[in-house]
Symmetry: C2
Subunit: 160 residues, 2 copies
DNA sequence: TAGCACTACTTCAAACTTCAACTACCTTCG
DNA sequence: CGAAGGTAGTTGAAGTTTGAAGTAGTGCTA
């Protein structure tokens, strides 16, 4: 490990984190401005709406959201209080529980989605040409696949 | 706004947020594993170490970190308690204060930096070829520039 | 040069996140 | 079967983040 990151890659890294922070902040702000949902709320609603039976196990949801178990418990409790989801215990596995999308949750999502997608478009995508979109997809799909795999490996074999 | 985001761009967006979440989580974990610093702590130390006089105004620091003022106040207080930075009131402007890097802070940074840069390299950069690095830089430098400009404009002219 | 609007930062309470127990249930192997 | 050990999710305390309100100092302008 002589020079860990060359000048070019360091610049790339810095541009990426700074702009990403700004982008996430801006999207969160836009979302709250026209929907009473946080980014996390929105993402939970999207995942549930796409799941078969509009329901997902807590663990599955946590791993897709990249949330710790306790963070997800809190998140779902909060959404349950607001009537966006319900919690049901899992019939196959008595330890488990599932989050289920409610009718109100679905309506809220349908209301919020166009605004949010529009915000993603104007804050990020409008500026990218097709080649850039392709590049972004390639980089981050590969990265996501690798990080997911590494995480799975490290939970299966708890030590290096 | 008929179809806000085409299929390709939606996929790009999803890959980007998911992988970014995983990456940030992993980097944070690596950083804590060998340094007792959070990602925010590390970033504060980097910015201060590069500033003239190794000191920065709170506002400047907040805007570069993309932190709210109160979040920065808390962050700096916490680092001050741990001896990483000191707080001095600004001579030019009696309202302001500056965060100053301490000797201990600098040592801590020098200790942590190689590990952290290595983690950025292995978790992200090793997988990218030069063209991808160039693409990443171009996309995110442009994005950062635009978001920074928009934020400035909206604080100068508080209403649309 | 006094007043008024503005800026820089801090504070406080409430909401959120983490981390380390803890509960309850499943699994497997003697 | 029935303990031992693992897994799924929750809880509680401590730490962090937010957002609104507060404090103090600046700078324009009349």
């Amino acid at each position: 490990m002589t020079e860990s990151l060359d000048r070019t890659r360091l610049a790339a890294w810095r541009a990426y984190i700074e702009a990403s922070q700004r982008l996430f902040t801006q999207l969160e702000e836009d979302l709250r401005a026209d929907s009473a949902l946080s980014f996390a709320d929105y993402h939970v609603l999207v995942l549930l709406s796409e799941a078969p039976g509009q329901r997902l196990r807590m663990g599955e949801l946590a791993s897709r959201l990249v949330f710790s178990p306790s963070r997800l418990t809190y998140q779902i409790s909060s959404m349950q209080r607001r009537g966006l989801v319900a919690r049901e215990s899992c019939p196959q596995d008595g330890r488990g529980s599932e989050a289920v999308l409610t009718a109100a949750g679905l309506l809220t999502l349908r209301d919020a989605a166009p605004h949010h997608l529009n915000s993603v478009r104007t804050n990020l995508m409008d500026d990218l040409d097709d080649a850039e979109v392709a590049c972004l997809t390639r980089i981050f799909e590969r990265l996501g696949r690798r990080l997911r795999a590494e995480r799975d490996a490290s939970t299966t074999h708890p030590h290096s």
